[in-house]
């Protein structure tokens, strides 16, 4: 099947694609159901039961075991202690039941696959109680005989008036209870008017009411904004939020459903504290830089560990997930919670749980949206007249001549930005899921399709993704369950190839090209100039050549021409992340689970580079066609045993586990053919036969990375008041030598729920308060393979003789370091959770995270002569910070209001760099000497480093009077209009020693705010997020190209005394290095707050939608990235990717407007 990318796929085609898998799902579902026996089959089943004078309860137990038939009954409704006798051999069940039940006045009925018992006259509970209730009924409780109780009934609804299915209604102090049925109704017999009914459902506030004289109860459950009853995923298990002791932030599907994000990092951004997230760029499908509690290590390995349904997914490889499939995401932030993931946890652990089916009715949901996106902001550049004026000025100042005789005659010239930006880029997403199940099988299946066009050079910036997921659990017996979670995705990505790079690409070119050069040369005389006539220039569909600038050259090229050289090129990926598990519960409370997981991926690209001539230095004289295939197979096996038990008020759980992990099983093969007899991607094929020397194959494989682990966890609480958790993990890694193969990672955390104490004042002011503290140690082995060994490298070739051939030479790469050991991160965390006035919940954390023995390959002295830099355990770093999460919900009449927010502050500080290394170089920028960032002790990692400007010399007198303590002129060659550089070391000259730390490239605080409101059927959501405390290096201008265009800021340059004290004069050659020194001139505040989402929705009344068999229908209008509060002058202050806070012309994030629809069947 071939995708045609140039045109958007019509809707009806999408629907076709969408429906095929759905059909498959339906068939599967049908099969699951048909396996259930029908009522007649059950009653005709032959059974054996031979008992004398046993209780009815025991008799039923016997039947259950021998016949695999389930019985359901309420002890309050029937007396199961009555003694019965029967001797039945190979009789139909119907006969047996009639024989034993009729005489004691009990009726039975077959409901689905089970038999419900009831008093002949008593009503039968409409829906079987869930297994939880069954367990309780089986307990040896003080079962009272049914004393013709008081029957009560009613309905449980949520705030929207929708029935709550499965809510429990329990008579307080007893085990007597039922759950609500499909319509939210319940019926129950209670002891009397003094009984208290307790209504509860996960995620809602518990309600209690004394029965009194009332017999019909209608409950409206309110969402539990405290979330205390929520279940939190903690790694190899779950825990009630009210008893967690670690620092865990999370989001659940409710918080992001119907929000048009394309990747799940965007879900976490602004919704969780302690995370710094910045989109890598605005290219559709691009990931984001995610940092949990800051930068943990020096190397590249700062990405958190993503664990999807228990499978570790390699860093950043979560693009395959469809957000609609996600049930919850939990971020383990403190070492105490992380320690269960040991060696790979230091940079944070993010647990993703996908949706599972629930027993009950089949739910079919569709959600989709479509809309357009465009740039939120353009950079103001000089037009042709302004450009020529400034160039003249710069040239003359540099001793040159006037370049453009009459600037005003040039008009405005070419606006390159308008040629590459697309104001109506298409975006659409469709997702359909089916879920449901029964006691033995639950399933969740979904299919999603996403298509998004980029807003820059859309022809070469597109993304498509199709997902399929199936999560199933089978529970053939109460003690046994097994299942699978399988996610698959296909991605197809067309990218600019050059984002956040000053070296070419459409954005950098649009910013730096002179406005004089025409986009397309239509004048036949101009088009016949040698540069067009003699070179393989790119032409538009009408045959006119795209303009070539002779003024601005190197990598800066006509973006329209550049686009034509990449048309059709794309990359693709198939990803399967799957696991299968088997769990047995041999004795009550003990669960033994084996899980086998894998991430398997196939990906690659195809690209054709035609012959082109974009300018003198960007040209290609020989076309080539490359096809590359990669495959990756990671697997892991984990076996765990969990035992939990409650003895009196002591509740404990013990987990012991073992895991083996194999990663990096990666293989690459590719081939490039040159000089194919075609001129475009569509015609290119490897079927063309080319001479062997024009066919270059290449390939590689990675060395596997293996981990073997043992881990254990003890969780204990006394009456949910005193809490304790202890973890120990021992990991062995193939990345270390024999001396340091294993690392141990312990942690302990304690909690105290003060509000449970009798002395704690009982009032509404503080209804819940939990104080926590934790300490733990986690590790990091995320660095190169074989670093502890000295390896031999090839490619050190030389040519001997006259045959023009060459010989491969080999030599060691670098000195080895057999003493490499684990990088350790220890973290101390204190926090509290509180509920204030019932509506406001609050979580506060304060932490101190220390990394020691950081694994890093610093640039070693060149005199060592090594080809690469060996890894060493150098450096210590500390992150300290505070986090606050707030949630507030209020209902005023029919108006529901909600406000949630979080703010995090973090301070990074490098505390030690060993081995005599005082500094570590950072990011470079064009020809700025010494780079723009540096890491040093006492500074945050990767701080901006450069010269300090102290304003501009307004006159020669000022230059002359800027003297050192010895009286010598510090900048003798400076002219009025040049920067006055601070002579920080006071040596009377401006040298490299005068550079200093100019600010942090890491945001120090991040925050997010969500406002919700609903009134009747209308709802509104406003979501904003921001970050700040960092500086951004505004590097949009090519410093090394004298003729590169400027932003309009240059209009405010110094032109004479008093004209400017911030923007220096323009002068060719830049003798004072006004622009070619890294200085605070380039640094701008990185503070921003962005309204990321504004959504207005309308839910159709149920009475209306039920007529078309719908359960739910909601339509919404969504605005994305509507506005940003920032002083930053580039496209976008949110800069992620490899180098936070350095803007080399980043692909900005789009502003989008969409209409969405979600339907529930």
């Amino acid at each position: 099947m071939k995708f045609h990318l140039r045109k958007p796929i019509p809707w009806f085609q999408i629907m076709k694609i969408t429906f095929t898998p759905i059909l498959i799902v339906m068939l599967l579902t049908g099969m699951a159901y048909s396996s259930a026996l029908n009522a007649q089959d059950i009653l005709n089943k032959k059974v054996n039961l031979s008992v004398q004078n046993v209780s009815l309860a025991d008799a039923i137990k016997g039947l259950q075991k021998s016949s695999d038939i389930k019985f359901i009954y309420s002890k309050n409704a029937i007396n199961v202690q009555q003694k019965i006798s029967i001797d039945a051999v190979d009789l139909p069940l119907k006969d047996v039941l009639d024989q034993i039940l009729k005489p004691i006045g009990i009726d039975y009925e077959v409901l689905k696959d089970r038999i419900v018992l009831g008093k002949s006259s008593a009503p039968i509970v409409p829906v079987p109680p869930p297994p939880l209730m069954e367990n309780k009924t089986k307990k040896k409780t003080k079962a009272k005989f049914d004393v013709a109780g008081t029957p009560v009934s009613g309905k449980v609804l949520d705030a929207q008036g929708q029935p709550v299915i499965g809510a429990s209604i329990i008579e307080k102090g007893t085990t007597n209870g039922v759950t609500t049925g499909m319509d939210g109704t319940f019926k129950l017999s209670v002891t009397g008017s003094n009984s208290v009914l307790v209504v509860a459902f996960v995620g809602y506030k518990k309600q209690e009411i004394t029965v009194g004289n009332q017999t019909v109860f209608n409950f409206t459950l309110l969402e539990d904004v405290t979330g205390l009853s929520e279940i939190v995923v903690i790694g190899y298990g779950t825990q009630k939020k009210s008893v967690t002791t670690g620092a865990i932030s999370g989001v659940t599907s409710k918080q992001f459903e119907d929000q048009p994000v394309t990747r799940l990092e965007a879900i976490l951004q602004g919704r969780t504290s302690g995370l710094t997230i910045a989109q890598s760029d605005g290219q559709p499908g691009s990931g984001a830089t995610v940092r949990v509690r800051g930068i943990t290590t020096f190397g590249a390995g700062n990405d958190p560990l993503w664990v999807v349904d228990g499978v570790v997914v390699d860093n950043g490889g979560i693009g395959y997930l469809n957000q609609s499939d996600i049930e919850s995401i939990e971020v383990l932030k403190d070492a105490a919670s992380q320690a269960i993931y040991g060696t790979r946890a230091a940079t944070g652990v993010i647990l993703v749980t996908t949706k599972k089916g629930k027993a009950g009715n089949t739910a079919i949901n569709y959600s989709g949206y479509a809309g357009v996106s465009g740039p939120a902001r353009k950079v103001d550049l000089l037009n042709a007249t302004q450009y020529a004026t400034l160039r003249n000025e710069s040239s003359v100042a540099g001793g040159g001549s006037i370049i453009y005789a009459n600037p005003s005659a040039l008009g405005t010239g070419t606006d390159w930005q308008s040629l590459i930006f697309n104001d109506s880029a298409q975006k659409q997403n469709h997702e359909l899921s089916v879920s449901g199940g029964n006691e033995k099988v639950t399933y969740y299946t979904s299919f999603g399709y996403l298509q998004q066009d980029g807003i820059v050079a859309t022809d070469i910036s597109k993304y498509k993704r199709a997902n399929f997921r199936t999560n199933e659990t089978f529970k053939p017996a109460k003690w046994l369950s097994f299942g699978n979670n399988i996610g698959y995705s296909y991605e197809r990505n067309i990218g600019l190839g050059n984002t956040n790079s000053e070296f070419g690409g459409p954005l950098s070119s649009a910013l730096n090209l002179d406005p004089m050069t025409p986009a397309v040369v239509t004048d036949p005389v101009a088009a016949s100039a040698p540069i067009y006539a003699n070179n393989p220039v790119r032409r538009n569909p009408q045959g006119y050549p795209y303009g070539i600038s002779t003024i601005v050259t190197q990598e800066i090229t006509n973006p329209l021409a550049y686009i034509t050289t990449r048309l059709g090129n794309y990359s693709w990926a198939h990803n399967v992340v799957a696991n299968g598990f088997l769990e047995v519960e041999p004795i009550k409370g003990l669960k033994i689970k084996s899980t086998l997981g894998t991430k398997t991926a196939f990906y690659g690209f195809e690209s054709f580079t035609p012959v082109f001539y974009l300018n003198t230095s960007s040209n290609n004289s020989q076309n080539n066609y490359t096809r590359e295939d990669n495959r990756l197979f990671n697997w892991n096996v984990e076996n765990t045993a969990t035992y939990n038990r409650t003895i009196g008020k002591h509740t404990f759980e013990i987990l012991a586990g073992q895991g083996a992990y194999s990663e990096n099983n990666f293989y690459k093969v590719g081939v490039t053919e040159y000089n194919l007899p075609v001129d475009n991607f569509a015609d290119a094929s490897l079927n063309f036969s080319v001479p062997a020397n024009l066919r270059v194959g290449y390939g590689s494989e990675n060395q596997e990375h293996h981990l073997s682990s043992l881990f254990a966890r003890l969780s204990y609480d006394y009456d949910e008041k005193y809490l304790l958790q202890a973890i120990l993990r021992r990991d062995g890694s193939s990345r270390f030598g024999d001396n340091f193969k294993y690392g141990n990672f312990p942690s302990i955390s304690v909690g105290w729920v003060a509000t449970k104490e009798s002395f704690f004042p009982k009032n509404n002011a503080v209804s819940f308060l939990k104080i926590r503290g934790s300490y733990g140690v986690v590790g990091n082995d995320n660095f190169a393979e074989n670093a502890f060994l000295s390896t031999i490298g090839g490619g050190r070739s030389y040519s001997f003789g006259t045959s023009d051939s060459f010989i491969s030479g080999f030599s060691p790469n670098a000195p080895s370091n057999p003493n490499l050991h684990w990088e350790q991160t220890s973290q101390l965390n204190f926090g509290f959770d509180a509920v204030i006035y019932n509506d406001l919940n609050l979580t506060f954390e304060v932490f101190d995270k220390k990394t020691s023995g950081i694994l890093y390959a610093p640039q070693i002295p060149f005199y060592v002569g090594a080809i690469s830099n060996p890894f060493a355990n150098i450096g210590d770093m500390e992150n300290t910070g505070q986090e606050l999460e707030l949630g507030y919900h209020k209902k005023i009449g029919k108006l529901n209001l909600g406000l949630t927010g979080n703010i995090s502050h973090i301070k990074n500080n490098v505390t030690f760099i060993s081995n005599g290394v005082q500094t570590i170089g950072g990011q470079g920028f064009q020809n700025i000497q010494g780079g723009v960032t540096q890491t040093a002790v006492g500074q945050p990692f990767g701080s901006f480093y450069g010269y300090q400007e102290m304003g501009i010399f307004q006159s020669q007198a000022e230059v002359n009077s800027y003297v050192s303590s010895k009286g010598t002129v510090i900048q003798p060659n400076a002219k009025p209009g040049d920067f006055k550089w601070a002579d920080l070391n006071g040596d009377g000259a401006i040298t490299v020693a005068d550079r200093t730390y100019l600010g942090s490239s890491l945001p120090t605080y991040t925050y997010g705010l969500t406002f919700n409101a609903s009134y009747k059927n209308f709802d509104l959501l406003v979501f904003g997020a921001g970050a700040g405390g960092n500086k951004i290096f505004q590097g949009l201008h090519r410093l090394d190209i004298a003729n590169a265009n400027y932003t309009t800021a240059a209009l405010g340059r110094w032109t004479g005394p008093g004209t400017s004290n911030t923007y220096p004069r323009l002068v060719d050659g830049d003798p004072n290095h006004n622009f070619t020194y890294n200085s605070d001139f380039y640094l701008e505040s990185g503070n921003y707050f962005r309204i990321k989402t504004v959504q207005v929705g309308y839910t159709f009344p149920k009475s209306l939608v039920s007529k078309v068999s719908l359960q739910k229908a909601r339509i919404y209008f969504n605005g994305e990235n509507l506005f940003t509060l920032t002083k930053y002058t580039g496209y976008d202050p949110e800069i992620g990717g490899g180098s936070l806070s350095i803007d080399r012309g980043i692909y900005p994030q789009a502003r989008a407007f969409i209409i969405g629809l979600s339907l529930g069947f």
Partner: protein
């Protein structure tokens, strides 16, 4: 009870899975590298020893990722060339050495320092390993001699470029990297002399090699020439002259031991077919076969000098030379052009593009600092352009001369003149070189004066990377290069690269504001 059995079965399954994996933990955690040799088990045979030797030779042809080579950097530094290129910042390392704005942080010195010590490292490794390699003893001795010669060559470049350098003669263990300090230049020179003397003394080192297969391998002649050059820089005139005498033999006559003889026609030196000709003593090898591409400029075996010296946007007519359109670097100064204009070596040395353009034979775009004169010796040609895969720009096969016979003739003459030696022989050597330029079977005598020698060296070796070293050696640099920004007492050496001053015990030279 029946069900208990089942439980036990499942438990068993679970435990088996678990224990199997635990049992093989140790081997599970030891992953043998695939496709990567470890130093510990390499150098096991002759082939691996040879691969190690090739890796040392590789550094002779070192080209940095940013196009910087010793040859083009030294050309740019001299009075024969300006940097040129696309703009004042194109290959900024070359610009900075050309106009003397280099600093310890920026300039070509980092690349040249890195190249030198990479060579030293590889030589040190091999010299440490060779004694234990089971292989033919004579061959092993030859490898050792070659490696010592190569190490001497790398140190010689380092010491004359940087003066204050550390002496490292065995690979540095990881924990001793930061303990290194610089030594006096004399200590380095002693090591260089020792290595070269030992190489010369090695009977297994041949006098000549079969050029078809081994052209480029160093011989005793190479070692003598290099040692002579070392002595010349040390101003040990007599010893220098003696070494060169071994190489040069009778002026104008083929050397019976090493086969060295001036090519009759000067222009033939720069023809592709004449690799490893009789005049070649130490050649820097290149190949068009490595398919170098933009992904790794430093990885190619092609010669980057050919593309960077080509005129920009060169568009010839049918009767114009087949130059490749290049990047317009290293335009020849009017000063050199005026000096060489009426010399027979003008045409093979200087491509006068302005003249061609004026005659309507071609068009080209002037580069930054364009003079209209280009380096004919090394400009890429359509005829030498690679037709293989990779980027042709990076795959020119032309070799460079590090030392050729005309050079040793003139160096011997210099040693004789400055060392008050045999001036008759000096004049004969100079005359041989000068007369060859005319190739008319007529003697074109030169006097044995230093002035004549200096001019002859300039004209003979223009564009071959020697001029800057010559000017500095003669003490002429401050005057000759004053207009380019050369400061006496500073620019005679390059600064120690900032990288190697950071966190180490190294000190900057006092010429560059340091303490050494």
């Amino acid at each position: 009870m029946k069900n208990m059995k089942k439980y036990i079965q499942y438990l068993a399954v679970s435990l088996v899975v678990g224990s199997t994996i635990t049992a093989c933990t140790k081997s599970f955690l030891t992953v043998t590298p695939v496709g990567t040799n470890l130093e510990a088990n390499y150098y096991q045979n002759q082939a691996q020893a040879f691969a190690g030797l090739v890796s040392v030779y590789d550094v002779v042809g070192w080209q940095g990722g940013g196009f910087v080579t010793k040859e083009n950097a030294m050309d740019a530094a001299s009075d024969d060339h300006v940097a040129g290129g696309g703009s004042a910042t194109d290959i900024s390392d070359l610009q900075m050495i050309s106009n003397y704005t280099l600093t310890p942080a920026a300039g070509p010195q980092a690349e040249l320092w890195k190249a030198g010590y990479s060579g030293v490292f590889r030589a040190n490794v091999l010299l440490g390993k060779l004694p234990n390699v089971p292989m033919d003893a004579a061959l092993k001795a030859r490898y050792i001699a070659e490696t010592k010669g190569l190490r001497a060559y790398f140190y010689f470049d380092l010491v004359r470029l940087f003066k204050n350098i550390p002496l490292i003669t065995s690979p540095l263990p990881a924990d001793q990297i930061y303990d290194i300090e610089q030594v006096a230049p004399a200590v380095i020179y002693t090591q260089i002399e020792k290595d070269l003397t030992e190489a010369i003394a090695e009977p297994s080192l041949p006098n000549t090699v079969a050029i078809a297969t081994d052209g480029g391998r160093w011989t005793k002649g190479t070692m003598h020439a290099l040692l002579g050059k070392v002595y010349l820089y040390e101003q040990k005139w007599t010893q220098a002259a003696a070494e060169f005498n071994q190489v040069n033999g009778t002026p104008g006559v083929a050397n019976p031991t090493y086969g060295y003889k001036l090519l009759p026609n000067f222009g033939d030196l720069f023809k592709l077919a004449n690799k490893y000709n009789s005049e070649s003593i130490l050649e820097v090898a290149h190949s068009s076969q490595s398919n170098g591409n933009w992904g790794c400029i430093a990885c190619t075996e092609g010669n980057v000098l050919n593309i960077i010296t080509g005129p920009r946007s060169y568009t010839p007519t049918a009767s114009a030379p087949d130059y490749i359109s290049g990047y317009g670097f290293l335009p020849i100064t009017a000063d050199l052009f005026n000096a060489i204009h009426f010399d027979p070596r003008n045409k093979p040395t200087v491509a006068n593009l302005d003249s061609l353009k004026a005659k309507g034979l071609c068009t080209y775009d002037p580069s930054y600092q364009n003079t209209g004169f280009f380096l004919e010796k090394y400009m890429g040609r359509v005829s030498t352009r690679s037709t293989g895969s990779g980027n042709f720009e990076l795959n020119f096969p032309q070799n460079l001369y590090e030392i050729r016979l005309a050079d040793t003739y003139l160096m011997e003459a210099e040693a004789l003149i400055r060392g008050s030696g045999d001036l008759v022989r000096a004049a004969a050597l100079m005359t041989a070189v000068h007369s060859r330029a005319y190739n008319d079977n007529v003697s074109h005598p030169l006097p044995a004066t230093l002035a004549a020698l200096k001019l002859e060296r300039r004209l003979e070796l223009a564009g071959e990377g020697h001029r800057w070293f010559d000017l500095v050696r003669w003490g002429d640099a401050p005057t000759a290069l004053a207009s380019k920004g050369f400061i006496a007492g500073k620019h005679e050496i390059l600064p120690v690269p900032l990288n190697d001053l950071t966190s180490t015990k190294l000190k900057q030279s006092k010429e560059w504001g340091g303490t050494l």
